[in-house]
Amino acid sequence: MKRKTFKVAGAALAALIAGAAAAQDVGVTDSEILIGEVLMLSGPAAFIGKSAAAGSKLAAAEINAAGGINGRKLKVLYEDDGYVPARSVSAMRKLVDVDKVFAVTGTTGGSGVTAVLPVLDDAKVPTIVHVAPNPTVLNPRRPSIFMIGPDYDLAAYQSIRHAVEKMGKKGAKFGLIYQNDDYGKSVLKGYQQAMKDFGLNSVAELPYQRGAKDFSAEALRFKSAGVEVLYLGTVIAEAGGILSESRRLNAEMTVLGNWAAGLPATIRLTAPSGYDYLFNDYYAALTDPAGQKFVESAKNHLSADEVASLSRYAVSGYVAMKVMGEAISRCGKAVTRPCVIAELGKLKDFSTGGLSGPISLDNPAGHAVPALKLFQVDTKTSSVKALTDFATK
């Protein structure tokens, strides 16, 4: 009888141990969950990568300070790709094959994003793409990969709608300058859709080559066409170039843009032109109440260098890590990749504490399209102020 009891107890214990072993996946121990990020921490886009890394680091520090996720601390490994796609693949393979991370919340930018997707898809790693959201990430649909962030066409469409409905620009002459690449074409798509839907008059749609420095010809075209509302489908330096040339020609315009126009570097370059332009973003500005709270927390958890690197991309990294943390926590003690992927796919109206609109990934595309918020740049103080709250329309 005793022997039988021992046998049953032994079998139960073995089953329990086996269950515990099965209930945690690669990159998960009893005390730690390993998350990986490949970002452009050096090279031409380093300011974006460093900012995004600071944001995710802050989110992980906050989660760990609160006791971790069901008793497990988050450990984040960062790999630099220098914004070179071949190195992006190498770095991602290192994280997945050598470091054996459980999940990935940083997938670099530019064409590096597309380059690393097969690595993540093959290993079925729960992944959140947030730095450079673009349609190729979700087409074809890869079950373990999710994306946060709308495409640029929606941003263009909504800010033009605001100009028409709230600023009385229905009868104005519209113009667009856009970069001749997939980013610019996405902007063009949203702009043309707005022109069509609201019956607007577009008098100039001018592409420019990436890396262009001289915008005098474009500014002259806009001036001669009598453009009254200009939409910037530019990145950083180009916005400064086109607006300073327009100011030199004394062109009076209402200027609109997307979050690229709201970056501190862009504002510094555009401030001398004196155009108090509008831009929209799906993340709060650091000067918003939620943004200020975010900065305060960063001062407690990050180095001075990291605090200095904060921007909207830090908010982006922070939100992605929080979303991943939420999905992991919903799996309880049994943290496995299939479980986290399933939980990410069920995520609905996840609150980020005012840093963005609610995040929902519970759609067939696995794509969160947070609401956009409109801001205006004050060129005199080089600051931004919010004009609206996060709104889906």
């Binding site: 921490l41 050096s42 090279g43 380093a46 460093k50 890394a53 600071a54 630099d80 220098g82 070179v84 796609p85 071949a86 190195r87 693949v89 190498s90 393979r93 290192k94 997945v96 094959d97 050598v98 530019g110 064409s111 590096g112 597309t114 380059a115 097969p118 190729t136 001749n180 690449d181 997939d182 980013y183 074409k185 080559q209 180095s303 260098d305 990291e306 690197s309």
Partner: protein, 348 residues
């Protein structure tokens, strides 16, 4: 009694390996490399694959710059042509991947005539700028020809299938790259000892004298560009197959400069130097990363986010030191090491 290393026939002078031991070493090295997937994980195989692809492209550039003396900064353009040819032929025209691979090289070789013809009248810096302009033209042609190339969006590249076996597993693809590297190396060594190779060296050393000796500058310069571009085209196609996606950003102009650095660090004009240079610079980032890893978290914390710039600076410093202290490159170090070993204990 023989008191030196004498050659008694022309055949002996141009032999690939002076004795069978050389072949044994080479075969052993290839065998060891082919067994890498058995021992190494995916990350190491990935690094080895990238180094192998770089070596194929650099072998071609070495034939053009190191052997024929024609400076080129346009190899990123040939790589891009090869990569896009592979993607377009397979995706849009249904060409089997293994046929598209040499075709990609052939397309790059045909395109090389665009820079090859001006090279007949240009030298040095002027030629370098012409080839650089070619790379720009290729880049913008890709961006403009949206209907064919998908413009700036880039396009996915289907993985290779040979005899029904899909080479989408890292180990399989690595073995393919290794096999191609061996084939291209043998091809290069044979070219170097042929009439063509000797003509290229003659043009490099003194083109007027070479012309006076009856070497057709037109023919051999164009041939150098075409052969080199073929290598680069195949390397570009392999890059596309490896990353599984092509975009103009994958073929930045910096690649041309890096490839030149590889042949200079390896040893200009030396086949084994080109391979060593390609492998060395391909793995240098990794070596620096490992070195920093030994510094521990204290070093990482000390440098915080500046660590990445420091790594890039170190990368540059290593190349600079190399060029300053060993102008003959890795091939020179290899030669000196061999001589030291053979002459020991009388080595100096």
């Amino acid at each position: 009694m023989r008191s030196g290393d004498f050659k008694e026939s022309y055949g002996q002078l141009v032999v690939l390996a002076r004795n069978p031991v050389g072949w044994v070493y080479a075969a052993g090295a290839v065998l060891a490399l082919s067994l890498l997937p058995v021992f190494a994980g995916g990350y190491v195989i990935n690094l080895a694959t990238m180094a192998g692809i770089a070596a194929i492209g650099v072998l071609g550039l070495n034939l053009l710059c190191g052997v024929a003396g024609q400076l080129s900064l346009g190899h990123a353009g040939f790589l891009a042509l090869g990569g896009y040819a592979q993607a377009i032929l397979v995706t849009d025209y249904g060409v089997p991947g293994w046929i598209a691979l040499p075709l990609s090289g052939a397309i790059a070789a045909a395109a090389s005539l665009v820079v090859g013809i001006p090279s007949l009248r240009l030298r040095g810096l002027y030629l370098a700028l012409t080839t650089l302009a070619f790379a720009y033209i290729v880049r913008h042609l890709i961006l403009i020809s949206e209907d064919i190339t998908r413009g700036s969006s880039g396009m996915p590249v289907p993985s290779l299938a040979v005899a029904g076996l899909r080479l989408d597993q890292q180990a399989h693809f690595y073995l393919l790259v290794l096999a191609l590297l061996v084939a291209f190396t043998l091809c290069t060594l044979n070219l170097m000892r042929s009439k063509v190779g000797r003509a290229w060296k003659a043009i490099r050393d003194h083109d007027i004298a070479a012309s006076a000796m009856g070497i057709s500058l037109t023919r051999y310069k164009l041939l150098a560009f075409m052969v080199s571009a073929f290598y680069a085209g195949v390397a570009g196609a392999l890059m596309a197959l490896h990353i599984r996606y092509v975009n103009v950003d994958n073929f930045s102009l910096l690649l041309s400069v890096e490839a030149l650095a590889m042949i200079i660090v390896g040893g200009l004009g030396r086949t084994h130097g080109a391979i060593m240079g390609a492998v060395f610079l391909s793995l240098l980032h990794e070596v620096i990363r490992i070195a920093f890893g030994y510094g521990g978290s204290a070093l990482q914390a000390l440098l915080t986010d500046r660590i990445y710039e420091i790594k890039e600076i170190l990368y540059g410093v290593v190349i600079l030191l190399f060029l300053r202290l060993e102008p003959e490159g890795l091939a020179g170090i290899w030669r000196k090491t061999k001589r030291f070993w053979v002459k020991w204990p009388l080595s100096q």
